[in-house]
């Protein structure tokens, strides 16, 4: 994993990490809020449905317990009236009961063998009444009221109406003996239906009432008339309690409960489609928010990543250019300010590198030139021939001492010129070199000039540029030997003043005009090629080695003197 991560670019890593973290947190929050909302709505559905179911059952229980209450009262009167042999009064009471209680269609007391003892309507009843289920069940379990299913009443009102029958085994007196009979009460079912319709159970919501053996007693869903309908199957499956089910492609919350005293089950099918649809809506919205946030994150993260990585890449490419030696190109980046700073610093750095490189290059170049010039001088054949000729003539004149001195000077001069030492040498070495040179030239020019050194001891060990004096002295000899005078003087001074080392080369010559001096100054400072290579070379090297404070100054008075002053800051030699 880490290895793979290392292979990714900076941009990819930042992007990937951001997306992963965001996706993780988003998923977590989406799942959590989804769960919360779902459980909340589930609880809401459950409690609301259960409340509605409770209300419905209470309506039915009130309605039915009223019937039981009437039956209890009637039973008491049955005992009393039959004990007093007032059966007629009992029929009258039954009739009044049906008049007061509009739900009750018919009340009758039937003996165990199927004889009508008392009835609210005067009819003859068929003896097979004892085979009807409500009759048999009442006899079978004598201590409870039996609630029959819906049926058409054939014994009393000839199938005119749908009723259900409440039957109860009762004790009564017949011929002063206790006998067992059945009290039956026929109940109109229209109120049953009204109760169902009064409750708002939503579109296609309905109520199903079933007997204990899963026969449909009443259903407000017109399609559910037999115990094989889907609602009945759901009820048989649930048995008791509440559950969310799919019914006819609708989400229904079904509550199955019992109705007190009746051994009936009642199930309310409540349409909760809208609430469950809301759940789906919320889910879709949550997912939309999830996707949108993720996309936004991806875009923003990639934008900011690019603000960093694009300039970084430019920088990287630029570094590759520098690797290949291109110091001239410059980077222009836009983006994160830190990276822009970095690029600017990089530009400065590459500028500086280039400057230094140019400097080194120039310096090396100058040095090479100097050496070349020095070499030229050394192997200048005229210089050597002339010197050797001079030595020959000295020898012919038997001036052996002078011959010896000349050869020693020549030897020393060449040794120093050829020696490949540092760029900078101590002033005393340079003076020694020039002295040898002057000695040789004195012989050549047959003592037409004299020279002298006035060097302060304290400056003897200061650094000067190697082979810088000789070209200046050479110039002094060329231009400074006055033909009209027997002896010209060349004076070389060295002193320190205000942190500078000054070396003056003084000669008595024709002098140079101001204009010419200016010309020479311009010439040596420029890049152009000149015939005065020696002076220019010294000037350039002076600037390179000691910086801008160093200078080469020409002073002159016509027919009087010429003075070349070399000025160098002390201790500021650049150690390149």
């Amino acid at each position: 994993m880490i290895k793979k991560l290392n292979e990714l670019s900076l941009g990819q890593s930042i992007f990937l990490v951001t997306i992963i973290i965001f996706a993780a947190f988003l998923t977590l929050s989406t799942v959590l809020s989804n769960q919360l909302i779902f459980s909340r709505t589930d609880t809401l559905i459950e409690t609301t449905s259960k409340e509605i179911n409770k209300q419905v059952i209470m309506n039915y229980e009130n309605y039915l317990s009223n019937v039981i209450g009437i039956s209890n009262t009637l039973q008491k009167y049955i005992v009393e009236s039959t004990a007093d042999n007032k059966v007629d009064e009992l029929s009258q009471l039954f009739l009044v009961t049906t008049n007061i209680e509009s739900n009750i269609l018919n009340v009758a007391l039937i003996s165990q063998d199927g004889r009508l003892i008392a009835s609210s309507v005067e009819v003859e009843i068929a003896p097979d009444i004892v085979d009807v289920s409500w009759f048999k069940e009442a006899i079978l379990a004598s201590d409870i009221h039996h609630f029959s299913g819906l049926h058409t009443e054939n014994f009393f009102i000839e199938g005119k109406k749908d009723v259900f029958t409440v039957s109860k085994s009762v004790q009564y007196s017949e011929n002063d003996k206790v006998a067992t009979g059945v009290l039956m009460i026929d109940i109109d079912t229209s109120n049953f239906k009204i109760l169902a319709q009064q409750t708002n159970l939503g579109n296609k919501g309905h109520i199903v009432i079933m007997s204990q053996n899963d026969k449909i007693i009443y259903s407000s869903d017109p399609l559910c008339l037999t115990s094989n309908c889907s609602s009945a199957n759901i009820i048989s499956d649930i048995v008791l309690g509440g559950r969310l089910v799919k019914w006819d492609n609708l989400n229904m919350y079904v509550n199955v409960n019992t109705i007190k005293d009746t051994r009936w089950k009642i199930a309310t099918f409540i349409n909760v489609n809208e609430i469950t649809n809301t759940k789906t809506d919320i889910l879709i919205r949550l997912i939309l928010i999830f996707i949108l946030t993720l996309i936004t994150t991806a875009i923003t993260s990639s934008y900011f990543t690019r603000r960093i990585t694009i300039p970084m890449n430019t920088l990287k490419n630029h570094i590759t250019l520098i690797e290949h030696g291109d110091f001239d190109s410059r980077i222009h980046v836009e983006g994160q300010k830190e990276v822009v700073h970095l690029a600017e610093a990089f530009n400065t750095m590459s500028n500086r590198i280039k400057e230094l490189m140019v400097k080194v290059f120039t310096e090396q170049n100058e040095k090479r030139k100097t050496q070349f010039i020095a070499l030229q001088n050394q192997i200048n054949p005229h210089f050597l021939y002339n010197t050797l000729d001079s030595i020959v003539s000295l020898s012919e004149n038997n001036r052996n001492k002078d011959v010896e001195a000349a050869i020693i000077a020549l030897s020393k001069f060449f040794r120093m010129s050829i020696s490949n030492e540092m760029n900078l040498v101590e002033l005393k070495d340079e003076i020694e070199h020039v002295r040898n040179y002057l000695l040789i030239q004195q012989i050549r020019y047959q003592n037409t000039f004299v020279f002298d050194f006035e060097i302060d001891d304290e400056v003897m060990h200061h650094k000067v540029i190697k082979l810088s004096l000789q070209p200046l002295v050479e110039n002094a000899i060329l231009h400074g030997i006055h033909p009209d005078e027997a002896f010209s003087t060349i004076l070389i001074k060295g002193y320190a003043l205000d942190g500078f080392l000054y070396i003056e080369i003084f000669n008595e010559g024709y002098g140079i005009s101001k204009e010419r001096i200016n010309e020479i100054h311009t010439m040596i400072a420029s890049d152009q090629k000149t015939n005065s290579m020696g002076l220019k070379n010294v000037y350039q090297r002076l600037k390179l080695s000691f910086g801008n404070d160093a200078d080469l100054i020409l002073e002159s008075e016509l027919d009087e003197y010429t003075k070349v002053i070399m000025k160098m800051p002390i201790g500021k030699e650049e150690s390149l």
Binding site: K50, N53, K54, I57, M58, I68, G69, N72, K76, A141, D143, I144, H145, Q212, V239, L240, G241, G242, V256, N257, T258, I259, K260, D261, T262, R263, K265
Partner: protein, 335 residues
């Protein structure tokens, strides 16, 4: 990682271990007898399992809801005092679906319902027996001489004029107690005239409020008040005292039946307030429903069923493999 997993597993097993919880449903926490009974059940429980009580506020709808909830928690055994004994068939069906054992008490399910499921039991007292013993208390009241009733037969017609406070209509105990107390007295040779049967739903307050109507109608003729339970009897006594039927003339807190006016009332159940009332001379007598013993038997049966032990060795008789009957006891000042 591995260690975390082990800790987690240990934690889970620690959760699932510990004693089992057995849900106990009582039909109404306001019923004095039932709430006393619930306390006795809690006292009878050892450390083998825990009992969690669900109180159904005398509503089968609430009880059904609670039972549905409990079935979702996968309990293997429920102890139920049903609100509507006729609705028990639905609970049994649900239990069959979940293979759950049921112990019913206090309200007896229909025999056919109980026999329809082999894991259903009933622990209770036989209502017939309570009626027989209540009849016996009444006989004591009349000095056990049906031919020659004592001074409590105020009009001296040789017939006991009585009013019955009936529990709940359709409640098997109420039906049986009402029916058999009269039947038992008749068989013993007593002539009984039932002036009125009023249904007070086992409730003290209802009985109290029904008394005015009864007194207005039957006032002087009334010689005896038979109540299906103690709570209703105590409600009636409260109103009777206010009407002057009981008079603590010397204000010693005790009715002296020789010198102070009193009225014979008999109950059933033997709840603690009824026993206090007997000691104070108000309630003449009651029949103690031995809830102490019944609670012990229910807990013992629960233990055996949870441990899947063979009920053949069960220390109490299990009639037809379904019924454990607990005996009633007579309670009067004399006994």
């Amino acid at each position: 990682m591995k260690r975390t997993l082990i800790v987690f597993v240990l934690f889970l097993s620690a959760c699932s271990a510990g004693p089992k919880t057995v849900p106990l449903f009582i039909y109404d926490g306001n019923d004095a007898y039932i709430s006393e009974f619930e306390i006795k059940i809690h006292q009878a429980v050892g450390e083998d399992f825990l009992i969690k009580t669900y109180e159904s506020q005398n509503s089968q709808i609430i009880q059904n809801e609670q039972i549905d909830q409990v079935f979702k928690d996968k309990h293997t055994l429920l102890i139920i005092n049903p609100v509507d004994r006729l609705s028990v068939y639905a609970i049994i069906e649900k239990a069959r679906q979940n293979d759950t054992t049921l112990i019913f008490f206090n309200r007896e399910p229909l025999e056919s319902d109980l026999y329809s499921y082999d894991k259903a039991y009933y622990v209770g007292a036989d209502a017939t027996q309570s009626a027989e013993l209540q009849a016996s208390v009444i006989m004591d009241l009349f000095d056990n001489d049906p031919k020659n009733l004592n001074q409590l037969d105020k009009n001296q017609d040789g017939i006991i004029q009585t009013v019955i406070l009936k529990g709940e209509q359709g409640h098997q105990d109420a039906e049986a107690r009402t029916k058999f107390v009269i039947q038992e007295l008749n068989q013993a040779g007593y002539k009984i005239q039932v002036l009125d049967i009023v249904i007070a739903n086992w409730d003290r307050e209802i009985a109290y409020s029904l008394m005015d109507g009864l007194l207005e109608k039957n006032g002087e003729a009334m010689e005896l008040l038979i109540s299906n339970n103690d709570a209703m009897a105590l409600g009636a006594i409260e109103r009777l005292s206010e009407k002057g039927f009981f008079k603590d003339s010397n204000q010693n807190g005790i009715i002296d039946r020789v010198n102070e006016p009193w009225f014979p009332v008999v109950g059933i159940d033997g709840i603690s307030t009824a026993i206090e009332s007997i000691k104070a001379g108000y309630l003449y007598g009651t029949v103690k429903n031995d809830s102490q013993n019944m609670a012990l038997i229910i807990i013992e049966l629960t233990k055996w069923l949870l441990e899947k032990r063979s009920l053949e060795d069960f220390p109490y008789e299990i009639k037809s493999g379904k019924y454990v009957w607990v005996n009633y006891q007579k309670m009067t000042l004399d006994e």
